[in-house]
Amino acid sequence: MSISLEHLTKRYGEHPVVDDVSAEIPSGSLTAILGPSGSGKSTLLKLIGGLEVPDLGRVIIEGDDVTDVDPRFRDIGFCFQHYAPFRHMTVAKNVAFGLKVRKRPKAEIRARVEELLVLVRLQDKAGRYPAQLSGGERQRMALARALAIEPRVLLLDEPFGALDAQVRSELRTWVKELHEEIHVTTILVTHDQDEAMEVADQLLIMHEGRIEQAGEPTDLYDQPVNSFVHGFLGPTTEFGGVAVRPHDLELFGPGPGGETGVVTGITALGFEVQVTVGFADAQSTWVQMSRNEFNSLGIAIGSEISVRPRV
């Protein structure tokens, strides 16, 4: 189900939190809305889900204008940052909630809940209460609850934000696999560019309520439209007065054909080495390289060295 956002604006008082946002989200995609905190990305997600009402603009899901449709009738699956489990219901009852609302036959509900619990690997926890689950399990329960109603669109607000690093990366991989399996159009909100680059096939970069750039992750990484997107999507340094990726620079010489300076810092991060070079008359820069490359240069702090763009 494709989603079109047309000139969406939401203000709190005078301050626009979402400012004239238009975007197309392709059917079946896994789109990440990526931005720093306070960029309006969660509010944008709530506007799509109907939990906030826009001051201006339209939300269109598969050709239907749903701007004035109550979230009850939007057929969306919404997962909250802190999962919003029904705390007084068991895992199975949580997952069954949307189906009971739809008055499905009991046998059908039981079968569907079982199927979903297998899908999210919680079949052994059906009778537990949310308080008895780990963070990752609660997240998976919330996903199963949202998927139960076979939503047209799945909306995830900071889905991995409250989890520790290990569970986070497992769950990322799992969500990506799940999406490949069920192919429901999914939008997730995150402030973590690595997470967005890894999971999503489409990115919307938000900053101060506006969309700075939209497209496929590699395109945005390689051709950012401005310094904000450049800086937000990956490591950035300055060379010759412009922003560049530090792995797009190389060290040589010293000799002609580049800027010559002095090594002022060396940081080794496992296989990766970061070398900072200071110049007499320009902003210092840093270069990212492999350990082998670094070793073959034979440099130390104080060495004279030249920098040029990698070709």
């Binding site: 489990p85 007084h88 909630f97 609302v101 209460y129 308080a131 008895q132």
Partner: protein, 272 residues
């Protein structure tokens, strides 16, 4: 803290509690049963005492449910909606307990007596509010107004809106959300508020005395019966017996609440 030092803290607290609560209430129970259980029972089953107990129960049976519904409704409004006059509504609920109950009584008399704003019109319709059980119910509802609201509001704010919003995106309507999502998550707040309301409803004296006219067998609630036995009839044993019944009911309600609570805690470990 260990050894004698902990008694530095505990000691004064226990003495304070004993002087204020333990000794007087204990002495009251001792006095009520001082002439034997049969004498006590005879006092409790006197027609005036029975009538007073019945009226108190009837008043509570109306005032408690009404104030529970109003309190939960107002808490939902204050926690979940924004509207002009919100702060005013919030404050208004506390007025009846912030001022002395006697003021509630006097203002009800002013408003509903024949010279008052509604009194003359009501009298023409043949409805009398004052010196009747209706007036007692009104006065009681006024003085026990905020307890449910004040117990429920912080819980509603604490729980937040997200469970309700999640239920909404799953297709649930407002009524279903209230019964299946909101109410279960605030039920302890509601029960606590109901307990306080029952205690206040049964115990109210000042406001009720003013509006009731103190007509024996007709507008005497249990507290007024106790007062009347003591002050007018010099029936001290009757007064002590009534007081013991009243105190026992309130203590039972408190004990029931705390039993329910500990059972709930055993069922769901760290629900919070």
């Amino acid at each position: 803290m260990t050894g004698p030092r902990r008694w530095l803290v505990r000691g004064p607290v226990l003495v304070y509690l004993a002087l204020l609560v333990g000794l007087p209430v204990g002495y009251l129970f001792a006095k009520a049963f001082g002439s034997g259980f049969q004498a006590f029972w005879a006092e409790v089953t006197k027609p005036g005492a029975i009538a007073a107990l019945k009226l108190s129960a009837e008043v509570a049976a109306i005032a408690v449910p009404v104030n529970t519904i109003v309190g939960v409704g107002a808490a939902l409004l204050l926690a979940r909606r924004d509207f002009p006059g919100k702060r005013f509504l919030d404050l208004s609920f506390d007025v009846p307990v912030a001022v002395s109950p006697i003021i509630i009584g006097v203002s009800l008399v002013l408003a509903y007596s024949r010279i008052g704003w509604f009194g003359s019109w009501l009298a023409e319709q043949g409805i009398s509010i004052l010196f009747s059980p209706t007036g007692i119910v009104l006065a009681t509802m006024a003085v026990s107004l905020p307890y449910v609201l004040r117990s429920v509001l912080p819980v509603l704010v604490e729980v937040g809106r997200e469970q309700e919003q999640a239920a909404r995106t799953l297709g649930a309507g407002s009524l279903r959300i209230f019964w299946q999502v909101t109410l279960p998550s605030i039920r302890w707040g509601v029960l606590y508020g109901v307990t306080l309301t029952i205690a206040r409803t049964l115990g109210e004296f000042g406001a009720v005395l003013i509006v009731s006219g103190n007509i024996s067998g007709y507008t005497q609630t249990l507290p007024i019966y106790i007062f009347d036995s003591w002050d007018q009839n010099f029936d001290f044993l009757g007064s002590f017996a009534g007081a013991v019944v009243l105190a026992s009911i309130s203590i039972l309600v408190l004990v029931a609440l705390s039993l329910l609570r500990s059972k709930e805690k055993r069922l769901h470990v760290d629900l919070a």
